[in-house]
C-alpha cells in the first residue's frame, strides 16, 4: 500500500488506490491513480476516476474529483499540538494524550463526569461514531455527547420515527426515482449538494415525470422543474397544508390506502376543514393556481416520491413540516412500492450512519433509545457493564454549546467537526469555546475551532482510514484503506482506544482494527431498528453495499421499505395535523429581510477540507450574499461590494451577488466560511422543540453596504 504522496518511480506500475468520496451522502466510489508528474516538474499528480456502484453509477462531481487535494495538502497537521502561553507547540502523542487524560480525570474528579462534553461529526465512519458514543458513556461516563448531524437530520429523522416508526433516509431505492411519475423536491438543491444524483431525476424527467421544486431560489435544481414553487422561507408546513387541501378538494386522496395502512386520518381531515388554499397562497407568497397545479400533478400521478432536505428541516418547526409532507405521502398512498416513497436527502457523508449508533444524545447503537430500559440492558450486556453505568440522555448539539458557555461543560472533546463555524449564533459559541477550560480538537487541519483548542490531535484522512459509511439510501458501504497515513497522524478510533487506555478503561476498548469495532457494532445493533447484524466486511466487499435493516447474514436486504406495513406495532403509519405557521422570525422594520443559507457546488460543510483543495477553492474563493436586483437597489447595494448583514444575534460581512433568481424578500448566504464571513454569526439558535434542530434557514436580517456603515460610524 502506497502513501498518497509516494514518489512515482518511472517504469514501475503506477499505484492505484480504491476509495470513497469523503463528502456528501451519496458516497461515490472512486479510484485514485498516482500518476507520473509532467516532464520538468516534480509536483505530484493524480488521476481520479469514478468507480461504478449502485448509488453513483460511476459518476463523480468536482468535489470528489479533487478530494485527494486536501489529503495531500501541506496544511495537514502532522504533530499533536499543545497550547502553551497562547502558542501551539509540537508534542508527542504520548504527551498530548497524557495531558488530555489528566485533564479529564481532574475535571471529572472536581465537577463530576458530566463536566466533560463530547462532540462528534457526520463524516466519521460508523465504527468511529459507535466508538465515540461508547467512549463518552463508558470511558468518560458523561451524558453529554451529540454531533453536528443534529443540524443535518434530526427533523426528518424524528418525523420518520413518529410517522413510520423508523427513520431511514430513503424509504425506497435511488433506482426508484426514474420510475416515479411525479417528484417533489422540497428545500433540496441536489444539483449542487449531491450532483451525482441528478441523472436519476433527469432520467425520470425523460420518462415523462413531472418535477416540482419548492425553493425560494431558482437553484440549479429548480432549473429542471416543471413547476417551481418559489416559496417564502419557513412556510413549508403551510404549503403542505395547501397541497393537502387541494388534493382533498380534487378528490385525490387514496381512501383505501388510508383505511388499511394508516391511523389519525380523522384528525387530519378535521384540521383540513379549517384550511383555505387561498390563505395558504398568501402566507407562502405563491399563486394559488400553482399550488393547485402541483397538488394535482402529484395526486394524479400513479407513482411519486417526495424528498425533503434542510430547507424544510432546518426550521424551528422542521419536524412538523416534514410530518406534513409525510401526510401528503400517506394521503395519496405513494409509499411501499416501486417508484414511490419519501426521502430525506441527508447532507453529510455519514449523516445517516452517524446517528444510528450512539453518537446522538438520546440514542444507543442500533437506533436504540438511551431512555428505554430494555435497550439499556441489552447494550450494557454487549459492553459487559451494569446498565446503571450508562448515563441518561444528554442535550442536543447547540444546547451543549450553551452549556459550555454557562461553564456546565468545562472540558470539551471535539472529533471531526468545526462547531464554531457550523453552529447557529456563532458569536456565542465562539465566546463559549474561548472561555472553555479545556478544549481538545481532533482534526486533519487547523480549523477555526482547532485554533481555539488547548490540544489538537492530527487524524488520518478518508483515504487512509478504513470503515463503513451509510449513504442517504440507508445502504452501508465499506471504504477500504487505500493509502498509508502520513507519519504523525492517527486514526480517530485509535485515539479513542488509547485515551480509554490512559483512563484505565482498556478492557472496553481492545480494538486493533476498524473491522473489530464493526464486529461489536453488529452485535450491539442486533435486534435494534437499524439492525446491522447481517452485514459483515466480507459481505460488503462481495456485494458492494447492503441496505439496513439487515438482521441476517445470508438473506438479502431490501431497498423498498414498508411493502408489508409500517414499523409501528400496529403496522400503520400515523397522520398528524400540522399548523400553518409564520416563519419563526418574521421580518420587522429593523430586520426587514429573511436570510436563508445553504451550500455551493464546490464546497462542503464549513469548508475545512474543500477550502484547502486548490481546485475547489479556486472556483469559489469567498462567501457572498445573493439578493434580488430590486432589493439591492432599495438598500443601495452595488453588485460585488461588501455588505454588512446583521440580525439580532450578530453580523458578518460578505460580498454581494445580485441575481433575479431569488425572491425579493429573501437573501441567501452559503455556509462554508468562518470568521467575518460566517453566516452563522447571524443565524438564530431557536430550536425545534421536537428534535432540537436550530432554525438556520430563516433569520430576519438587515443589510447595508459596508462603505455606508463605515460612513455612518465615522460621523457619530
Amino acid at each position: 500500500m502506497p502513501q498518497l504522496t509516494a514518489e512515482r518511480k518511472s517504469g514501475e506500475t503506477l499505484p492505484v488506490i480504491q476509495t470513497q468520496c469523503p463528502y456528501c451522502s451519496v458516497q461515490c466510489k472512486m479510484q485514485i491513480t498516482l500518476t507520473e508528474p509532467p516532464p520538468g516538474s516534480n509536483r505530484l499528480t493524480y488521476t481520479v476516476e469514478g468507480v461504478a456502484n449502485a448509488a453513483s453509477e460511476g459518476r463523480l462531481c468536482v468535489k470528489g474529483m479533487n478530494a485527494h487535494q486536501h489529503a495531500t495538502s501541506t496544511e495537514r497537521l502532522l504533530h499533536p499540538l499543545i497550547k502553551r502561553d497562547g502558542q501551539f507547540v509540537e508534542a508527542t502523542w504520548d504527551e498530548a494524550l497524557r495531558v488530555i487524560a489528566d485533564n479529564f480525570q481532574a475535571t471529572s474528579a472536581a465537577y463530576g463526569p458530566d463536566a466533560i462534553g463530547v462532540y462528534g461529526g457526520g463524516s466519521l465512519t460508523n465504527e468511529t461514531a459507535y466508538l465515540l458514543g461508547k467512549f463518552a458513556r463508558i470511558a468518560l461516563g458523561t451524558k453529554y455527547i451529540d454531533y453536528n448531524g443534529r443540524f443535518c437530520m434530526s427533523a426528518a429523522a424524528s418525523a420518520g420515527v413518529k410517522t413510520f416508526g423508523v427513520d431511514r433516509g430513503l424509504t425506497c431505492r435511488l433506482a426508484d426515482i426514474p420510475l416515479a411519475s411525479c417528484i417533489i423536491l422540497a428545500g433540496t438543491n441536489i444539483a449542487e449538494c449531491q450532483p451525482t444524483l441528478m441523472p436519476y431525476f433527469t432520467k425520470a424527467k425523460e420518462n415523462g415525470a413531472t418535477i416540482i421544486v419548492i425553493d425560494p431560489r431558482v437553484t440549479a435544481t429548480a432549473a429542471i422543474a416543471d413547476i417551481h414553487l418559489q416559496v417564502k422561507p419557513g412556510t413549508d408546513a403551510a404549503l403542505a397544508n395547501g397541497l393537502l387541501k387541494a388534493l382533498e378538494e380534487e378528490g385525490l386522496f387514496n381512501e383505501s390506502f388510508i383505511a388499511e395502512k394508516t391511523s389519525g386520518f380523522y384528525e387530519l381531515k378535521k384540521h383540513l376543514s379549517g384550511i383555505n388554499v387561498a390563505e395558504v397562497a398568501a402566507l407562502t407568497g405563491l399563486d394559488e393556481a400553482d399550488i393547485r397545479k402541483a397538488a394535482i400533478a402529484y395526486g394524479k400521478a400513479d407513482t411519486g416520491i417526495v424528498f425533503t432536505a434542510r430547507g424544510v428541516e432546518q426550521q424551528t418547526d422542521g419536524h412538523m413540516a416534514v410530518r406534513n409532507f409525510l401526510n401528503l405521502v400517506l394521503a395519496t398512498g405513494k409509499i411501499g412500492k416501486p417508484g414511490c416513497g419519501y426521502g430525506a436527502v441527508t447532507g453529510q457523508g455519514n449523516g445517516q450512519g452517524g446517528r444510528e449508533h450512539g453518537q446522538k444524545a438520546d440514542q444507543l447503537p442500533g437506533y436504540r433509545s438511551i431512555e428505554n430500559e430494555n435497550d439499556r440492558a441489552y447494550i450494557a450486556k454487549v459492553w459487559g457493564i451494569e446498565p446503571e453505568r450508562i448515563p441518561r440522555k444528554g442535550v442536543s448539539a447547540y444546547e451543549m454549546m450553551e452549556l459550555v458557555h454557562q461553564d456546565v461543560i468545562r472540558s470539551l472533546f471535539i472529533m471531526g467537526s468545526n462547531p464554531v463555524v457550523s453552529n447557529p449564533n456563532a458569536l456565542l459559541v465562539e465566546e463559549g469555546l474561548n472561555k472553555c477550560e479545556f478544549l481538545v480538537v481532533a482534526d486533519m487541519f487547523m480549523s477555526e475551532t482547532a485554533r481555539m483548542a488547548d490540544v489538537v490531535l492530527p487524524v488520518t484522512a478518508y483515504v487512509e482510514n478504513e470503515g463503513t459509511l451509510t449513504n442517504l439510501e440507508g445502504r452501508v458501504l465499506l471504504r477500504p484503506q487505500g493509502s498509508i497515513p502520513p507519519e504523525g497522524t492517527k486514526h480517530d478510533w485509535r485515539i479513542l482506544c488509547e485515551l480509554a487506555d490512559l483512563l484505565g478503561q482498556q478492557t472496553y476498548f481492545p480494538f486493533q482494527s476498524a473491522e473489530q469495532i464493526f464486529e461489536e457494532l453488529r452485535i450491539a445493533s442486533k435486534g435494534g431498528i437499524a439492525d446491522y447484524y447481517g452485514i459483515t466486511y466480507d459481505r460488503l466487499r462481495r456485494e458492494g453495499g447492503v441496505y439496513w435493516p439487515c438482521p441476517s447474514t445470508d438473506k438479502p436486504s431490501s431497498g423498498i421499505m414498508f411493502e408489508n406495513g409500517f414499523a409501528h406495532p400496529d403496522g400503520r403509519a400515523i397522520f398528524t395535523p400540522v399548523e400553518s405557521r409564520m416563519p419563526q422570525e418574521t421580518p420587522s422594520a429593523e430586520y426587514p429581510l429573511t436570510m436563508t443559507n445553504g451550500r455551493v457546488l464546490s464546497h462542503y460543510l464549513t469548508g475545512v477540507q474543500t477550502r484547502r483543495s486548490k481546485t475547489l477553492a479556486a472556483r469559489s474563493m469567498e462567501n457572498f450574499i445573493e439578493l434580488h436586483p430590486k432589493t439591492a437597489k432599495q438598500y443601495r447595494i452595488e453588485d460585488g461590494e461588501w455588505v454588512y448583514v446583521e440580525s439580532r444575534r450578530g453580523g458578518f460581512t460578505v460580498r454581494s451577488r445580485i441575481t433575479d433568481q431569488i425572491r425579493e424578500d429573501t437573501v441567501f448566504v452559503p455556509m462554508h466560511w468562518g470568521g467575518v464571513q460566517n453566516v452563522n454569526r447571524a443565524t438564530t439558535p431557536e430550536l425545534d422543540p421536537n428534535c432540537k434542530m436550530p432554525g438556520f434557514k430563516t433569520s430576519a436580517v438587515s443589510i447595508i453596504p459596508l462603505r455606508l456603515k463605515r460612513e455612518l460610524e465615522a460621523t457619530h
Binding site: 509536483r43 463523480l60 462531481c61 440549479a220 429542471i224 464546490s602 486548490k614 479556486a618 460581512t653 459596508l706
Partner: protein, 717 residues
C-alpha cells in the same frame, strides 16, 4: 485488368488535392502521371506570403513532398510543360521536351498566372509578379541589395507581398487604383481601419493612382502615374489580378471563355478531359481562391472514380488576409449596391468591426475586422443563406435560443470549463469530438463525462459538440503564433528551446531554430534575452549577459500612505516596501504596476493595476490583471489571505508565475485572459508550488536588496 492511366497537367494545389481525393476513394484505380511546370513538388501557394514575411520556410509550405509521389506510385515530371492535348482519337498529351503521354482520363489543373497589365516598362528587370517560390526568391535577393519597393495592387495578395517586403527591410509603397484597399472584399470603413493599421506597421499607400509606366533605364527605378507624379522603387511587384492559364486548352480545341468551361462534374466538352481550379470556369465564374478548388476537387474525384456525387453548384468566395497582427475576413456579397446592411458594429475600444449583408431577408455576405473568431459561423450562414433572424437572435442575446449558446460555445476559451461537476474543459470536448470522431451528445457524455453528474450543462455540451463538428481542427487550440516576422517560432517553443540549452548564445539559438532573419528584430532579440534571464538569472553570470537595466521592470508602485487608520489591521507601507524590495530587481515580461492599500478608505486603484493588494474584511485581497490604460481591464481576485506573510507570498508567487508563463511582452491582463483566472488561482493555491515560486523570486530580493533597506517607495498617493 490493367489500371487506367490518369494524367494530371498541373502540379499545384488544385490538381494534387484532387489526386489525394482520388487516392482516398480508390487508390488502385489509376496509374497516375503528373506534369508540373515548376521545379518543386506541390506546395501551398497561399502561404508564399508567409515565406516572404519570414514566418515559414519553403519546406514548411510543401504539401506533398517527393516521397508522397513515389509512395503513391505517381510518375512526376517537374519542369515540364504540356504543349498539346490530342483528345479526339489518340488521347495523348504532348510536352515541350517531346514526351507523348497517353491517357484514359485527363485533368487540366494549370492554374493561373499573374495578370501583367499593359503598361510601359513591365519587362524591365526589377519588375516581377508574386506567384511562385522563384518570385519570393527574387524579392529576397532584391531586399538584400536595394531599399525601396512598390507593389502595384492593393488587393489581398498585394498587401501580403507588401508586408513581406517590409519584413525584408524594404521601404514599401502600395499603389492602388481604387480609392480604398481590398475594394472587392471590404467596405470603405473596414478598408480604412486596415490601412491605418498597416501604416502603423510602416507601409505607405498611394491610393486612386493609375500607373502610367515603370521608369528606369535598364532596370526599374520607380513608377509614374497618370497625374504625372512618381514614386521611387528598385523593385516593382505587380499584383493586379490573375489570368487563367488556358492557352494549352484553347489551342487543343477545348472550349474556353474567360477560362476552361466545365459542367457541374468538372467535365470539359472533350471526352474524358476534366478541368478544375483557377483555370476552370463554372457557371460563368473562374475562382481565384482556395476553398472552391477544394470543393471542386472532391466532386471531380468522385466523378472520375464513378462514385455517385452531388453536382458542384458553385462556391461562396471568402478571403482571409494573412498579415501578422491584422485579422480581416470577408465572405460573399459585400457591395452595397447588391445587398443591404443587416448589421454593422464598430467597437472603437477593441478596434473591431463587423458588418453583415443581406438580400431578401437572407445573409449574403460579411466583413470582419480585428476579430475573425466568427468567421466560420458567418461563412456557414452565408453558405446556408440563413435568414437574418438568426443574426437578430445572436445580436440581441435576449432569447436563450440555440444561436446564443452557439456563439458562446464558439467564443469560449479552450481551457474554460463547460462542465463544472466533472471539470471538463471546452478543449477536452473539442479534442474528443475531433480526434475521437464522436458525433452525438451521448457519445460525448460517455467519453468525457461532461454533463454526466448534474446534467445542468447539457445545452452547452451540445453547443460545443456542434461547434466542434462545424469548426473541426481549426476550432481546436490553434498553433502558437510566431514571435515576430523574423521567425516562425512561437514564444513557447523558444522558451523550451532555451530551457534545453540555457547557455547557448542568442545567435546560436536563432540559428538552431531557423530564424529567417538571424539578425532578429527588437521583438525577438528582447524575448530571447528575457527568456535566457528567466532560465538562468543574470546574477548567475554567463557570457553574453545583458545589462539588468535593459529589462522590463516594476514600473511604478502606489502605496497608499494613509495606512494605519482606525480599525485597520493592514499595514500597506510595510508590505509595500517589502514587495518593492523583491520586485525592483526582477525582470518582467512587460512593465508591471503595483498598488497596495490598507483598504478602500485609502483608494489606490487596486483594481486597475497589474497587481493590487488591499486590506478587506476577510483579510488581504490580492488582485491581478488590472490595467488602467487602453484596453481598460478590471483586476481579478486571486486570493484572500489572513496574514502579512501569506499576502507577501501570494503576491510574489503570482508575479513569479506570470514571469514564468507569460510570453515576453505580454502584459499581465493578457496573460490572465489566456491562462484563465481559475487555472491561475489553482496553481497559486497549491501551497507547495506557491512556496517554490516564492523561493525563486526571493533569490532576486536577496541579491538585489540589502536586508532591511527601508522603503524608497514611490509614493504617489
Amino acid at each position: 485488368m490493367a489500371k487506367k492511366h490518369l494524367v494530371v497537367i498541373g502540379n499545384g494545389m488544385a490538381g494534387m488535392k484532387c489526386v489525394e481525393e482520388i487516392l482516398s476513394i480508390d487508390p488502385e484505380r489509376f496509374q497516375i502521371t503528373v506534369i508540373g511546370k515548376e521545379k518543386h513538388p506541390n506546395y501551398n501557394r497561399i502561404l508564399l506570403s508567409k515565406v516572404l514575411q519570414g514566418d515559414s520556410s519553403i519546406n514548411d509550405i510543401v504539401i506533398n513532398d517527393w516521397s508522397w509521389y513515389s509512395d503513391n506510385h505517381i510518375k512526376l515530371y517537374t519542369g515540364e510543360t504540356a504543349t498539346r492535348i490530342h483528345h479526339s482519337k489518340d488521347k495523348v498529351v504532348e510536352t515541350a521536351s517531346g514526351l507523348r503521354i497517353p491517357y484514359d482520363a485527363l485533368i487540366i489543373a494549370t492554374g493561373s498566372s499573374a495578370f501583367i497589365p499593359p503598361i510601359n516598362g513591365v519587362n524591365k528587370s526589377g519588375v516581377i509578379s508574386f506567384r511562385s517560390i522563384e518570385d519570393c526568391q527574387t524579392m529576397m535577393d532584391y531586399a538584400g541589395k536595394y531599399r525601396k519597393a512598390a507593389v502595384i495592387g492593393g488587393g489581398l495578395l498585394g498587401l501580403e507581398a507588401a508586408r513581406g517586403l517590409l519584413n525584408l527591410g524594404m521601404e514599401t509603397s502600395v499603389i492602388h487604383n481604387a480609392p480604398y484597399l481590398m475594394n472587392r472584399q471590404l467596405d470603405r470603413f473596414s478598408a480604412e481601419l486596415l490601412q491605418k493599421e498597416l501604416e502603423e506597421q510602416g507601409m505607405k499607400f498611394l491610393l486612386g493612382k493609375d500607373t502610367e509606366k515603370i521608369i528606369g533605364r535598364d532596370r526599374a527605378k520607380g513608377v509614374r502615374f497618370t497625374n504625372g507624379t512618381t514614386v521611387d522603387a528598385d523593385l516593382v511587384v505587380l499584383s493586379v489580378g490573375i489570368r487563367p492559364n488556358i492557352e494549352l486548352a484553347r489551342k487543343s480545341g477545348i472550349d474556353t471563355e474567360r477560362a476552361i468551361l466545365v459542367d457541374d462534374y468538372m467535365r470539359t466538352n472533350a471526352e474524358d478531359v476534366y478541368a478544375l481550379g483557377e483555370c476552370a470556369e463554372h457557371r460563368g465564374i473562374a475562382y481565384g481562391l482556395v476553398a472552391p478548388l477544394y470543393e471542386q476537387g472532391r466532386v471531380l474525384a468522385k466523378a472520375i472514380c464513378g462514385v455517385e456525387t452531388e453536382p458542384y453548384k458553385g462556391s461562396i468566395p471568402y478571403a482571409q488576409l494573412k498579415v501578422s497582427g491584422v485579422q480581416v475576413f470577408s465572405v460573399g456579397e459585400i457591395g452595397e449596391d447588391r445587398a443591404d446592411t443587416a448589421l454593422q458594429q464598430f467597437d472603437g475600444i477593441r478596434n473591431t468591426y463587423k458588418k453583415v449583408m443581406m438580400n431578401y431577408g437572407k445573409v449574403t455576405g460579411a466583413i470582419l475586422y480585428g476579430n475573425t473568431d466568427e468567421a466560420t459561423s458567418l461563412l456557414n450562414l452565408v453558405k446556408q443563406k440563413a435568414p437574418v433572424s438568426t443574426l437578430q437572435a445572436a445580436a440581441s442575446g435576449a432569447s436563450a435560443g440555440g444561436s446564443v449558446l452557439d456563439e458562446e460555445a464558439e467564443s469560449m476559451q479552450p481551457r474554460e470549463k463547460v462542465c463544472a461537476c466533472n471539470a471538463v474543459t471546452k478543449a477536452s470536448i473539442m479534442n474528443a469530438v475531433i480526434d475521437g470522431g464522436l458525433r452525438t451528445y451521448e457519445q460525448v457524455r460517455e467519453k468525457t463525462k461532461a454533463s454526466s453528474s448534474c446534467g445542468g450543462c447539457r445545452p452547452m455540451v451540445e453547443a460545443v459538440l456542434k461547434y466542434a463538428l462545424r469548426a473541426g481542427k481549426d476550432g481546436a487550440a490553434s498553433a502558437e503564433p510566431p514571435i515576430c516576422a523574423c521567425t516562425t517560432t512561437g514564444h513557447q517553443a523558444l522558451k523550451e528551446s532555451i530551457a534545453r540549452q540555457p547557455r547557448a548564445t542568442a545567435q546560436s539559438i536563432k540559428e538552431s531554430l531557423n530564424w529567417t532573419n538571424v539578425q532578429g528584430c527588437r521583438l525577438c532579440n528582447k524575448a530571447i534575452e528575457y527568456y535566457k534571464e528567466l532560465i538562468v538569472p543574470n546574477f548567475i553570470s554567463f557570457e553574453d549577459r545583458v545589462p539588468a537595466s535593459s529589462f522590463n521592470k516594476l514600473s511604478s508602485t502606489i502605496v497608499s500612505t494613509e495606512h494605519l487608520v482606525e480599525n485597520s489591521f493592514y499595514d500597506a507601507q510595510r508590505i509595500g516596501s517589502k514587495l518593492q524590495q523583491v520586485w525592483n530587481a526582477v525582470p518582467m515580461p512587460a512593465p508591471v504596476m503595483a498598488s497596495i492599500t490598507s483598504g478602500p478608505h485609502a483608494p489606490a486603484g487596486v483594481l486597475v493595476h497589474d497587481i493590487g493588494l488591499t486590506g478587506a474584511p476577510a483579510g488581504w485581497e490580492l488582485y491581478a490583471g488590472g490595467h488602467m490604460e487602453h484596453p481598460v481591464k478590471q483586476g481579478q481576485l486571486i486570493g484572500i489571505v489572513e496574514t502579512d506573510t501569506d499576502a507577501l507570498e501570494l503576491a510574489v508567487s503570482c508575479v513569479q508565475l506570470y514571469r514564468e508563463s507569460a510570453s515576453y511582452g505580454e502584459p499581465m491582463w493578457k496573460w490572465m485572459e489566456r491562462e484563465g483566472i481559475t487555472e491561475i488561482r489553482e496553481l497559486l493555491l497549491d501551497l507547495e508550488y506557491r512556496q517554490e515560486l516564492v523561493n525563486k523570486s526571493a533569490l532576486y530580493g536577496e541579491v538585489a536588496a540589502a536586508e532591511q533597506r527601508k522603503d524608497e517607495a514611490v509614493c504617489r498617493s
